[in-house]
Symmetry: D2
Subunit: 416 residues, 4 copies
C-alpha cells in the first residue's frame, strides 16, 4: 500500500533535492525548484507519497527512458512495479487502492511525467480512464472483478473512445453494439477506435459504442482473452513523433461478443467518457508541470556548465536568464492552480471547466517554455541525450490530446 | 476601523456580483469572475473587507475616474475617504490602523486598481512606502507622530528614491545629507528626485539620501510646512501617457534643513528602500489583477452586446472567445499566486524573490491580456469612455515601475 | 508640382540621414536605417520625392505634433501646406496632381506617419478616400470641380462609410437616399456616420448610402456650404485614446438635399467604398513602417544615451539589443513587401488580398515592436516628450481600423 | 549543365502548381502559394531552374525522405543525382558549375528544403561551405583538382569548424597544425571537430585549425583516402532529434599528415570560415521558406479535408484560418527579403549583416509558424506520415545552427 510504502527508506535520488518540508517560521532562501513554496500547501502524507514516487521514477524509470523512446518500446513491467508501489488508481477507496487525496495523485503524476510524458500517459489510462471509469460507473461485480487486478498492474487497461473520423467530436462515433445474433446474453460490438494508448498490449478494454436500438453511447468492458479469433485486432501505430515511450494503437472490433454484464449499467451519452477524461486531464495538468520542471533543471544545469566566450557560463547572459526566469514562474503558478483544483475536487466544489482551464493552461505553458529552454542547449539540443527534445516532442502531444473534445464541449465554439 | 466598517450596509454595487462566499459542499457552476474559486481561500473577514472596499471603489471612485484621467487631476479627498474607511496602511498594527492580513490588504488593492491603477498608486505610496516605511524603520516617536495622521488621510505622504540619472540603479544616487552649517541638530539635504507619486501635494516626504560623511543611504522624513522658502520645490510632471489619475512630480531639495530626529535610526543602505518597495510590489501584484478583471468584465459585456454580421454578438466568434479565455485564466492564476505569497508573508516564510516573481508575472500578464482584450472593442476602443484604453496605458506603466531595481538586484544582470 | 518641388533646396533635416542613394558597386556598411537596402529599389525621382516629404515633415510637422496630440487639435493649415508641396492625391494623373508612382506615394505616407499616424490619417482620407474615390468613380464634371481644390488643400474632404451599429459590416448600413420630396433633381439623404476622420471641419463629404428604391449602396458628394441649416451636423468625437492629432467626428444627415449630379454614376454596392479603402490601406501599410522606424530611432538614441549600472549605456544589454534587432528586421521586411505591392499596383497585376495582407502584417508588426521598444525607456516612457507612447497609442488604432471590413470580406469568417 | 537541363521536359509534379510565370498586365487572382507575386521578380531562367529543381525534389527526393528520417539514413546517391542535374555549387563560374545567379541558387535551396531540411543541409555543406570555400580561397590547383568532382557529386565534402567546447565561439578552437615531424612538406593536424554534417561519409574535409607557430586560423583540405590509418576518424553522431535525413559526425585528427599545398594560401583568422558560413546562411534563409511553404500546403490540405462537428471542414474555423493566414504572410515576406539580398549579393552591394538578419528572421518565422500549423493536425500530428512533425523538428535545428557565431560576431553581445 502506498501509504505505508511512502515511508520506505529509499535512497535520496541523486541530483534532485529532497521534497521540501513545511517551512518553519523564519525567512527562507529562494528555492528555484519550488519558488512559491507550493510544498507548504501539502500534507506530510502527500509529501511522503511524492517522495516515494520521485524515488521510484528517478531510480527505476529514468534509466530506461532513453532507449524506450528511441526504440518506441513500452516496458510492460513498469506498470507492475507501479502497482506494487500503490501508484495506480491511487485515489480510489477500497479494492486494494490507496485512497489518497487528489493532490497526492497529482504529485505522483508530476513525478512520473518529470521522467516522461509517455510513461505518464500509460499510467493515466490505467488509473484515470479505466480504473476511474469502472469505479465511477461500474457495477459492484465489475469493480470487484477488475479493479484489484488493475491496481496491482497485473491487468493492463485501455480506453477506446476516439475514432478515425471523429477525433474531436466523439458524439458522432460509428461504433455500434447490438444484441449478438447467435450468443444470448451477449452484445455484438463492431467499430474502429484509433490513437488508443496501451491498446496493443492491454488485457482489458473499456470501449464506448452506441447501442443500435437507442443510438445512445454506452461503455463496455472487453477482455482480450475472451474474444474469439478475428473479432478483435489491436494493431500498433508506430513511428510517432512524440510519446514514443508509450504504446499506441487501434482497436478493431468485428462482431465481437461481449457479455451483457460487462456493460456499464446506468451511464448514457457522453457524460461517461467525459467524466473519465476530466479525471485524466486533471492528472495531465499536474504531469506537464513535472515535465517542465525537468526541462528547467536540465537547462539550468547546462547553462551553468556550458562556457562560451571568455569562459563565461552561458547562464551569465540575460537572454538565457530570462528563459529560465519565465519558465520557473510558469511552473510555480501551474502547480498552485493544480493544487487549488485538487482541493476543490476533494471538497466536492469543482466545476468541470476548472479542469479544462488548468489542463489547457498548464499544457500550453509547459510546451512554450520547454521549447524556449531547448534553445539554451544551442546545437547540442539535437542530441537526444540531453532529454530536452524528448520533452518538447511529448509536450506538443499533451497539448493536443484530450483537449478538442473539451473545447468543443465547454466553449461551444461556432455551433450555430 | 476597517473591521467594523466592513459590515456597514453598503448597497450592492451595480453590475458587479457580490464577492462569493465560501462554497458549500456541492458542485458549483463555473464562475467566470472567479474561475478557480480563489474566494474559497479567503476568510470571512477578508471577504467582508473586500466587499467594503469594492463598494466604496465602485460607488465613489469609479464615477470620478474618467474626468480625473482626462484632466490629469488627482482628487485629494479620495485619500481622506479611504482613511475614513480604514483602507490606508491596513496591515499595520496599532496607530489607528486596521491590522488586517496581507491577503486582506491585497484584496483592497485589487478593488482600488479595478477602478484605476493611478488611484492604486496614490494609495500604495501612502500605505506601503510611507506608512510601511515608518512602521518598519521609524523611531517610536516618528510612528506616533505620523502614522495616525497618515492613516486617516489627513496627511499625505510621498517617497523620494529615484533620481533623474539613476532610475534603475538607486545605489548611485547623488542626493546628500550633511550637518546643517547653521542650524545645530539639523541635517542639510540637497538633491533631486523624480517620478515621485504624490510629491506636488504631499505634506510628508520620505526621502532617501546619502550621509556625506559615510556615503551610506539613510531615510529622512521631511515635513513640507517646516521647510524654509527656497529649500524645497515639488514641481509636477504633467502630460503623462498613463497613470493620469495620480499626480507625479519631482522633489528638489536645496540645502533643506531637516531635524536629526527625523532620520530613520538604524537602517542603512538599500535595505530600507528595497524593503518598502517589496511591500508596494506585493500590492501591485494584487492590484493589476483587479485592473485585468475589469478589462475582462468590460470586454465580455461589449462582446455580448456588440452585434456584427447577421446580428451575431461578436462573442460568438472563436477569435474573441480565445481572447477572453486566455485573460480569465491568467487572472485566476495570478490571484492564486498572490494569495499564496500573502499567506507566506504573514507566516514569516517569505523569500523576497517571490514578490519580484509575482509582481513581474502579474504585471506582464495583466498588460498582455489587457492589450488583447482592447482588440475586442475594434474601432470603439479609441473612445476613452470604454475604459479599456486607460487600463492598457496604466498597466504599461505598472509593468515598468518598481521593477528594474529589483531586476538589477535579484538577477544580477550583466554585472562583471 | 511635386516633381519639380522635389528638387527644392531644403536644408538637410537635423538628426536624420539623407535618404540613401542607389548604392555603387562596392560592399556597403550595414545601415540600420535601411538594413536591406530598400532604397536601391526606388528611382531617383522617388527618392527625391521622399526627401521633399521628409524635409517638410521633420521641419514643419514635427514641431507641432506634441501640442496637437496633447490638445487633440488638428491644424488645418497642414493640409494647405501639403497641397502646396503636391503631396495630396499624388498618384492621380491630371487635375493638378503629381501623377507619381504608387511607391512614391507610399514613401510620402511613410514620411508623414514617421511624425504621427494622425497626420497621416488626415492625409489618407483626403488623398485616397476622397480624391481617389472621385478620380476612380466620379463623372468628368465631378473630377473637374473637386479634385483641383482638394489637391491644393483648399478644400478638405471626409469619407462617410461606417455607422454606429455597423462598423465592421458596412453592407448593413442604414443611411438612405430617396428622391427629395420637394426639390426636384435632388436626393434627400438621412442617416448617421461615425468615426469619420476630418468630418467636423470638412467642406466636402463623400457619403455612402443606400438608394431607397433599389437597396443598393451609392456614393454621394455633399458640400457643407450647400446644406440647409438643420440637415447636416458633424459633431466631433473628443477624448480619444489615440490619433489625437487628427480630428474625428460624426456625420448626421437629416433629410439633407443633394443634387442628383453629385452621385457617383456607375458604381454600386460595396465595390466603391472597398476600392477606396484598399487604396488607403496600401498607404497605411507604408505609413506604419514610418512610425515604427521613428520608434526605432528614438529607442536607439535613448539606449545609447541612457546609462545605468556602472555607467553602461543600456544599449549594452542583450535584452535591449534584441528589442532593437527584432524591430529593425520587421521594419525592413515590411518596406520590401510594401514596395513589391506598389510595383504590382502600378503594373496592374495586383490582387486586392495583397493589400489586406501587407496592411494587416505591417500594422501588426509596427504595433508589437513599438510596444516592445517602449519598454526600453523604462519609467521615462510615461513622459509624452519621448514620443514613443504616442506612436504606440496611434498604432493600436491603425491596427484596428479599416481592417474588419476587409477581414469580413476577404476571409469570409464564420459565414454559414 | 543546369542551364540546359532547366528546359528538360520533366513531367509536371503532381499536386504542386507549376511555378508561376511573370504576370501579364491584368488583375490576378490571389495565389496562396505566392501571395505577393515574388515570381514576378525572377527571370525566365531562374524560374526554369526552380522548375527543374522542384521536379527533381518532388519526384525523386520526396519518396525517400520518410524512411530516411525514420532510419536516420542519408542516401549518398542523392548527391550524385543533384550533381548530374547541375544543382551543386550552382553559383560558381567555371569548373563545370552552372554559374547561375544567387537568387537561382536560393530557389534551388528552397525546393530541396521543401522536401527536407536535412537534404538541404547535405547540399549546403557541399555547395556553400566546401565548394564555395575552395572557389573563394583556394589556389588554382586546388580549384581544378576538387571543384569539378564535387560539382558532379562524385566527391562528397564536409566542413570542420566547430569543436566540442567551442560551438558558438570558434575563435577559441583548439585544433592545431604544425610542421609534420617526419614528413617534409606536410603539416601534422590534430584536434576534434563535432556536429559536422556529412563527415562520416565525406571524401574531402575542409578543416580549420590554428597554425601552431602563429596561432592564426587557416583552412586545410584533407582527403580521407590519403590519411594513414589511425590519423583520421569520423564517427557518426546518431539518435538526433532533427535533421535525421542528413548524416552528422565528428572529425578526429591525430597527427594527421596534410600536404602543405592543401592549405588555403592567403586567408587567415575567422574571415575564411565566416565567409563560407555567410554563403550557407544565405541558402538557409531561402531553404526554410521552402520548408514552411510545405507545412502550409500540408496544413491547408488537411484543414480542407478533415471534417469535424456537423461535417464542417476544420478550415471553416477562425482559429485555423488565422494560423494559415499568418504563415502565408510570413512566408511571402521572407521570400521577398531573400530575393532582395540575393540581388544585392550579385550586385556586390551586400553587407554581411543582411545575411544574418534574413537567416535569423526566416528561420524564426519558419519555426514559429510550422509549430502553429502543426496544431491544425490535432492528434494526428503525432503520426510521422503527415510530415509536419519532421519539418518542426528540422526547423528547430536550423534556427539554432550557424547562428550563434554570427550573433557573437555581429552584435558583439556582452563583450566587455
Amino acid at each position: 500500500m502506498l501509504k505505508s510504502l511512502a515511508r520506505r527508506p529509499f535512497a535520496k535520488p541523486i541530483g534532485l533535492c529532497t521534497v521540501a518540508r513545511r517551512y518553519a517560521h523564519a525567512p527562507v532562501p529562494f528555492n528555484w525548484e519550488d519558488p512559491l513554496s507550493s510544498a507548504s500547501l501539502f500534507t506530510e502524507e502527500e509529501l511522503a507519497i511524492q517522495e516515494t514516487a520521485r524515488a521510484y521514477c528517478q531510480e527505476r524509470m529514468l534509466p530506461r527512458v532513453l532507449d524506450a523512446y528511441r526504440d518506441e518500446h513500452y516496458d510492460r513491467t513498469i506498470l507492475t512495479e507501479m502497482g506494487e508501489l500503490g501508484l495506480l488508481g491511487a485515489t480510489i477507496k477500497g479494492y486494494g487502492c490507496a485512497g489518497v487525496s487528489s493532490v497526492a495523485s497529482g504529485l505522483i503524476t508530476r513525478e512520473v511525467e518529470r521522467v516522461d510524458s509517455g510513461y505518464r500517459s500509460g499510467m493515466s489510462v490505467q488509473s484515470s480512464l479505466v480504473m476511474g471509469g469502472i469505479d465511477e460507473f461500474g457495477t459492484p461485480e465489475q469493480k470487484e472483478k477488475y479493479i484489484p487486478a488493475l491496481a496491482k498492474g497485473k491487468m493492463l487497461g485501455c480506453f477506446g473512445l476516439t475514432e478515425p473520423n471523429h477525433g474531436s467530436d466523439p458524439g458522432s462515433m460509428e461504433s455500434v453494439a447490438k444484441p449478438h445474433p447467435t450468443k444470448p446474453g451477449y452484445f455484438s460490438l463492431s467499430g474502429s477506435k484509433t490513437w488508443i494508448t496501451n491498446s496493443p498490449i492491454a488485457e482489458l478494454m473499456l470501449v464506448w459504442a452506441k447501442l443500435k436500438e437507442t443510438g445512445r453511447i454506452h461503455g463496455f468492458l472487453i477482455e482480450r482473452e475472451k474474444c474469439p479469433p478475428g473479432t478483435l485486432e489491436t494493431p500498433p501505430l508506430k513511428n510517432k513523433n512524440g510519446l514514443r515511450a508509450s504504446i499506441t494503437g487501434m482497436i478493431q472490433l468485428d462482431e465481437c461478443p461481449v457479455p451483457k454484464e460487462n456493460m456499464f449499467p446506468d451511464v448514457e451519452g457522453l457524460k461517461g467518457p467525459f467524466s473519465c477524461l476530466n479525471s485524466a486531464r486533471f492528472g495531465i495538468a499536474w504531469g506537464v508541470m513535472g515535465a517542465l520542471e525537468d526541462c528547467i533543471a536540465r537547462a539550468r544545469t547546462y547553462a551553468l556548465e556550458r562556457r562560451q566566450f571568455k569562459n563565461n557560463p552561458i547562464a551569465k547572459y540575460q537572454l538565457v536568464q530570462k528563459k529560465l526566469s519565465d519558465a520557473v514562474t510558469d511552473a510555480s503558478y501551474g502547480i498552485l492552480a493544480a493544487t487549488q483544483v485538487g482541493r476543490l475536487k476533494d471538497e466536492g466544489t469543482l466545476a468541470p471547466e476548472m479542469i479544462s482551464m488548468i489542463k489547457r493552461q498548464n499544457c500550453d505553458r509547459a510546451l512554450v517554455n520547454a521549447r524556449i529552454l531547448q534553445e539554451v542547449f544551442g546545437g547540442n539540443a539535437v542530441s537526444d541525450e540531453y532529454g530536452i527534445g524528448r520533452h518538447v516532442a511529448n509536450l506538443f502531444v499533451t497539448q493536443t490530446y484530450e483537449v478538442r473534445s473539451s473545447l468543443g464541449n465547454a466553449h461551444n465554439e461556432n455551433s450555430d
